[in-house]
Symmetry: C2
Subunit: 288 residues, 2 copies
């Protein structure tokens, strides 16, 4: 039933989902084994360039906009006036670029543990790195868990956790200790955003994550689904957690009048993502 | 790079997209070569049962709700009072089931060319066929193109074209002659719905389809994206075309108070789907 020629396709098998996704490739562009992970780059036939980390598809030229926009704009427009933003992970710099589109943002500090990811992005996704030299941006390579642990209390408005899946170096980004650090570092009304896997395939993990956020003291959650063509099921999510007060809509007029282009995000998409489908709502409500 | 064991995975290679999607299977349940196409059924490890037609994934237990709900509810709630509905294709009966959830609908006639599809659905997706015996339903096996050509003028409120891709038996469902038949059969204010492929991967085809609908005289179009985990890119669309007058919102209050459950569709999802993302809007507006 399967006849993908090994040298013409990159295939990621997702054992936990019983599914696999393949992209046809012209050639391998690069491969670097960093101290943390194996980073490969391919040129695909239809999706532009493709970054693979430890065998998992991470980013492609063609479809990364869904993810980067949904990891940034809903949170930034839900906060009344976000000035100081921290991105944990995010080494491809695509989320950084989106955050910097917001003129009210004064500082963005990105902390990815692996400099190799950003080196690869600079070379193969230069468009994602277009804002790295913005004077408001600080791009660091360090341990994001430690960074958040040591961050000054109430010094940040939005923390975006743009990490890999909860295995390998990304694992420590999905637990109570890390969320406690984030809560402490956020100002009242501040928002934590985390990529929260597939609502269709990874509901157990998603529910654990949501529960952990509430356990440490976040008072309100939103889980926003969005398309993610190269990840398992093609449907992914971002979970937003708010400190101190519940979410209270979003700055819709500012979003309508945002003076920047987006490929996916708009106010209607934002509202649609907030309209939790029945299959998600029932899973959130169930005790299983 | 690829090491899917041939007997444990079903793989659909989408040559036109440079992508492939695989589901892990426990076993093949059935296979029938009909006069029209080859229909296979598999039991997967994580997606329930899976129907394959001519080598292409069609429907699985786990995720068909996205498609069936988005092919039916947006159109039915956009029409002020849909009474007579025709489904062309739709042999798995999932769209029929959704349409029959609307109490105001008086008749639904489903015309699929291939009885084998429905036989397989009755056996392996009985939940999708739960409403086949509704007295309002007529399930026919015949040529849907001829059916629409011969349909009485102004006798139908909504035509749902729930066909396969524009190859094989589904090909005639994507052209001017067929759309002209649909336009004629619809009452003023009537709505044609067609599955319109992936907005991310098949924009050329989608634009041709939209242009053909306008060419034959439909006056307004809506293309609604939705998740479709087992189709290429995981993002699919339904295009709605209206006869005689532009779309004018939808019956939001009726949708809010609908006395039936859905897994995906709700009023917020509907509005979100109407908020065309920039990448689609720009493609629709471009001359290419």
């Amino acid at each position: 039933m399967s006849n993908l020629e090994a040298n013409r396709w990159f295939t990621e098998i997702s054992d936990r989902d019983g599914s696999a996704f393949s992209l046809r490739v012209n050639r391998k562009l690069d491969e670097i084994q960093s101290p943390f992970q194996n980073v490969e780059m391919y040129e695909t036939t239809d999706f532009g360039n493709l970054m693979i980390i430890d065998g998992c598809t991470m980013v492609s030229t063609r479809e990364n906009f869904f993810y980067h926009e949904m990891m940034s704009h809903p949170a930034l427009f839900s906060h009344p006036a976000p000035k100081n933003v921290v991105i944990i992970g995010g080494g491809d710099c695509g989320t950084l670029r989106e955050v910097l589109k917001h003129p009210g943002v004064e500082t963005v500090t990105q902390i990815d543990i692996d400099e190799v990811v950003t080196q690869m992005a600079l070379k193969y996704f230069p468009e994602l790195c277009a804002s790295n030299d913005d004077p408001r941006a600080t791009v660091m390579f360090d341990d994001g868990i430690k960074y958040m642990h040591d961050a000054a209390p109430e010094s940040v408005d939005v923390v975006i956790v743009d990490g890999t899946d909860p295995v390998g170096p990304g694992e420590g980004l999905f637990n109570h200790a890390f969320y406690t650090s984030c809560l402490k570092a956020l100002r009242p009304g501040g928002i934590l955003v985390q990529q929260s896997e597939s609502p269709l395939m990874h509901m157990t993990l998603l529910k654990e994550m949501r529960q952990a956020m509430l356990d440490v003291g976040f008072v309100d959650l939103q889980t926003l689904p969005f398309p993610q063509p190269i990840y398992p099921s093609g449907l992914w999510s971002a979970t937003l957690a708010r400190k101190g007060e519940p979410f209270n809509g979003f700055r819709e007029q500012d979003a309508e009048q945002a003076g920047f282009d987006t490929e996916y995000y708009n106010t209607g998409i934002h509202k649609g993502a907030l309209a939790t489908p029945g299959f998600m709502r029932r899973a959130f409500e169930s005790k299983d």
